[in-house]
């Protein structure tokens, strides 16, 4: 869908590249408040076309509702409703800005999409949700136009619906189980639960009530890390009346949601609101504080008076491939590339921001997950002319969300599948000039159930490049292990916890990537919640 926008750039990092854009002169910052306004709750779309369509949708909805009221609405009527497409920025436009790609449903779209739900008695979607949101019930509430109720239902189980609606891999969770999708034998035709979640979450913009806090217990809880798990653990322990402090190593809270996931996929304003809610609840947030270095877990508990600790420090060390040339200039971990671009705003280097990033022309990203897609799409936005994504299996095995894969392809990223770098080749200045790749074929399934890629001997070929970004996952950060003697770790360096997310140390709980290895926002959130419940029980008995 082509959107026409009239916002002119006020200060453009894209001005010098406007020739690449269908409509030049987009600016990350000029657009932000505008986008935030209408993707997060503004009723009318800036273009007339969407309103016209919404009138048609309204008519369709009225007919369906009338049928339903008369008790005549059949599943076949629901199947006949077209899946509602997500309005998006046009690929040629969004290549040149960092504003959010997916613009959000209108009310009419949301209600029609919700009408597609069969309201199955067994609600298989709920089983597909890592935190068991009552999906059928909130979707029904949206169909009825009862948005506050829909949001209340979601918030029973998930504190961050605006985030999860955007970044959860719904197609392998709730939507994978959806009867509608199964009926069409196509998960993409399942009810778009994530988009509906986002829709109601965005309507809540600025009006969300601050959760109530129980009377003070006099107990102190330290939350280490301000990512999704930390935010949830902080909110839940604070609600129980404890005195809660969140410690963040970076200068800004939000964890992976601010340094990793790009603005075009998850606007920072959403994360800032969640942090602000914590502050309003009375949670103290301390930045530039590295637990293990500034103070250890032991010191927090024995000297600083904390009664319980939640460790949600995230993954940490980026993995490299261990191939020749990986330390050459121009080889980045995705973590570094994304941190420079997101948190440090390197896309505005020389126009306010002080953090530089390579001015790349030809970029290869190695990997097939969400982080790889984020890095590749960021490289496009930073002005790269050619961006390749090199992955050693096929598109089917890619761990990335389907939507991110589609978006990446739409933005012109060239997929090199069944290939993997054998070595990085440098020029006389030790700067990347090419990668030598091997071709692969799929063999027998491995431990992960995916077919193992097998290198084809003698299939080497070179791709000329100036930048390589490695996005093949992370290892556990050793800092906690080095500085917390009482804590038990597994052989991969992840913290060992029980079903309540309790560690081997009394009063110490942990969750998210430092426990699970590599996980998702929703899994981290789920563990934050379990750990908080554990902490609340532990402190009640203390």
């Amino acid at each position: 869908m082509q959107l026409t926008r009239s916002t002119g750039a006020k200060s453009g990092w894209t001005n010098d590249r406007s020739d690449r854009c269908a409509q030049g002169g987009f600016s990350a910052h000029a657009l932000l408040p505008f986008d935030a306004r209408w993707t997060r709750g503004l009723r009318t779309h800036p273009t007339g076309s969407r309103t016209v369509r919404d009138e048609e949708r309204q008519q369709q909805l009225q007919e369906l509702l009338a049928k339903q009221a008369a008790g005549e609405l059949k599943p076949k009527d629901r199947f006949a409703i077209a899946p509602q497409a997500m309005p998006e920025q046009d690929p040629s436009v969004r290549r040149c800005n960092v504003s959010e790609v997916a613009l959000g449903y209108t009310k009419m779209q949301a209600r029609l999409e919700a009408m597609r739900c069969l309201q199955c008695k067994t609600a298989p979607c709920v089983q597909g949700c890592p935190v068991q949101i009552r999906i059928r019930d909130f979707v029904t509430a949206i169909a009825q136009g009862n948005y506050p109720e829909a949001l209340d239902i979601i918030k029973e189980n998930s504190l961050l619906p605006a985030v999860c609606g955007r970044v959860c891999p719904q197609e392998v969770q709730c939507q994978a189980k959806c009867t509608v999708g199964l009926k069409f034998k196509d998960v993409e035709k399942a009810v778009s639960i994530g988009r509906l979640e986002r829709f109601v979450a965005d309507l809540d913009h600025g009006e969300g009530a601050v959760p109530s806090v129980a009377p003070a217990t006099g107990k102190k809880v330290a939350i280490i890390g301000s990512g999704p798990g930390g935010i949830v653990a902080a909110a839940d322990t604070r609600r129980a009346g404890h005195d809660v402090t969140v410690f963040e190593a970076f200068h800004k809270p939000g964890g992976v949601m601010v340094y990793g996931i790009p603005e075009f996929r998850l606007p920072k304003a959403i994360v800032e609101e969640e942090i602000e809610t914590l502050r309003k609840m009375g949670v103290e947030i301390v930045t530039n504080f590295i637990v293990g270095r500034t103070r250890t877990v032991d010191q927090l508990m024995t000297e600083d008076g904390f009664d319980a600790v939640y460790i949600g420090v995230g993954a940490g060390l980026p993995s490299f491939m261990g191939i020749e040339g990986e330390s050459l200039v121009g080889v980045y971990s995705a973590n570094e590339y994304l941190t420079r671009a997101n948190l440090m705003k390197a896309y505005e280097f020389g126009k306010g921001a002080d953090t530089p990033i390579a001015a790349s022309k030809r970029v290869a990203v190695v990997g097939g997950g969400n982080v790889a897609m984020d890095a590749a799409r960021t490289a496009v936005r930073l002005g790269a002319e050619k961006v390749y994504l090199i992955y050693r299996r096929t598109e089917k095995e890619m761990p990335a969300r389907v939507e991110e894969v589609h978006h990446a392809q739409q933005e012109g990223i060239e997929f090199h599948l069944l290939q993997s770098p054998k070595r990085v080749i440098g020029d006389e200045n030790e700067h990347v000039k090419a990668v030598e790749c091997l071709r692969y074929e799929l063999g027998e399934p491995d431990d992960s159930g995916r077919r193992r890629p097998v290198a084809i001997e003698g299939s080497e070929f070179e791709i000329e490049l100036d930048t390589v970004i490695i996005a093949i996952g992370n290892q556990a950060n050793p800092l906690m292990r080095q500085t917390t003697p009482g804590l038990e770790f597994n052989k991969w360096g992840n913290i060992v916890v029980d079903e309540n997310c309790k560690t081997s140390m009394e009063g110490v709980y942990a969750g998210g990537d430092i426990v699970l290895g590599a996980a998702t926002v929703i899994l981290a959130m789920g563990q934050g919640r379990i750990a908080a419940a554990g902490i609340n029980t532990y402190l009640a008995g203390k």
């Binding site: 800004k252 270095r293 530089p356």
Partner: protein, 284 residues
């Protein structure tokens, strides 16, 4: 919290010293550790600087830096009473301090700053401390008095002969290595090229040598990997595995290239800053 600069002075050409409020870091830091700072919140870059000294009781840390890029130049323009928005630390693994016997401490240029707390701790641990400080010229000489106070022997060199002995630090280093008994341990901190040649020298005499690397960093906690260096052919992260390494295993040539990755941008940013600075009249 922001961090107030309580006192500041210029030590030499382009070299500055400041005493800054950072009570938690002052309490926790050990020799060999560093901090990462950013001057303002939103657009400033994060730069690593070694802690040159600290006073835990008063909650102060001392930093010494040389103007290189925009941030170090901007830092030099801050006045007493002004603040730095973010300082995180202490980062990195502390130096292993022991009673080795006789230690040679070699500091080149601004490298003398991180060397001082290490040499001080070595002296306190009962070592005989032989110090070599090298500078380009007399106007860049720093910390001579401080090192004189804790060294059993102090040799100062300058490249142009304007102060002390006209030599590169490798010359007196070799002489000390030839003594009998030879030094048990060397600690070398300075420009990458200097560390490289010092390590080549000590290798000939089989004197174990610790170097402290000051690579490009973003987060400083192991998350980004931008600081990685090749140690014995394997990638290591300076921020969590270091900053100190066995100098005989470091691939200095590759490190030098990586250090220059943003040279052009760094120079352009500083030039733009200096130009802007003249306009707003900070130059009084």
């Amino acid at each position: 919290m922001s961090h107030k600069i309580v006192s500041k002075r210029q030590l030499g050409e382009e070299v500055f010293w400041a005493r800054i409020e950072a009570p938690l870091i002052a309490r926790a830091r050990k020799p060999g550790q560093f901090i990462i700072l950013s001057i303002n919140n939103d657009y400033s870059e994060r730069i690593p600087l070694t802690i040159a000294g600290a006073d835990a009781a008063e909650g102060m840390i001392e930093l010494i830096w040389q103007k290189v890029g925009k941030t170090t130049a901007e830092l030099a323009d801050l006045r007493e009473g002004q603040s730095i928005a973010n300082i995180s630390g202490p980062l990195g693994t502390p130096t292993h301090i022991d009673n080795f016997g006789t230690c040679v401490c070699v500091g080149g240029g601004i490298g003398a700053a991180p060397l001082l707390p290490i040499a001080t701790a070595l002296k306190a641990a009962g070592n005989t401390v032989l110090t070599i400080l090298g500078f380009r010229s007399k106007d860049r000489l720093i910390l001579e008095t401080e090192f004189a106070a804790i060294s059993d022997e102090l040799i100062v060199t300058s490249d142009d002969g304007s102060y002390g002995r006209k030599a590169l630090v490798t010359e007196p280093l070799k002489e000390l290595c030839e003594r009998d008994p030879k030094p048990a341990q060397a600690f070398v901190i300075g420009p990458t090229v200097m560390m490289k040649f010092c390590c080549e020298a000590t290798r000939q005499y089989a004197v174990p040598t610790q170097v402290s690397l000051n690579t490009i960093m973003v987060d400083g906690t192991g998350m980004c990997g931008g600081c990685r260096v090749e140690i014995d052919g394997k990638p290591k992260f300076v921020c969590v595995d270091g900053p100190e390494f066995d100098g005989h295993l470091v691939n200095f040539d590759l490190m030098m290239k990586r250090m220059n990755a943003y040279k052009k941008q760094e120079q352009a940013a500083r030039a733009a800053y200096e130009k802007h600075r003249c306009k707003i009249g900070l130059d009084e």
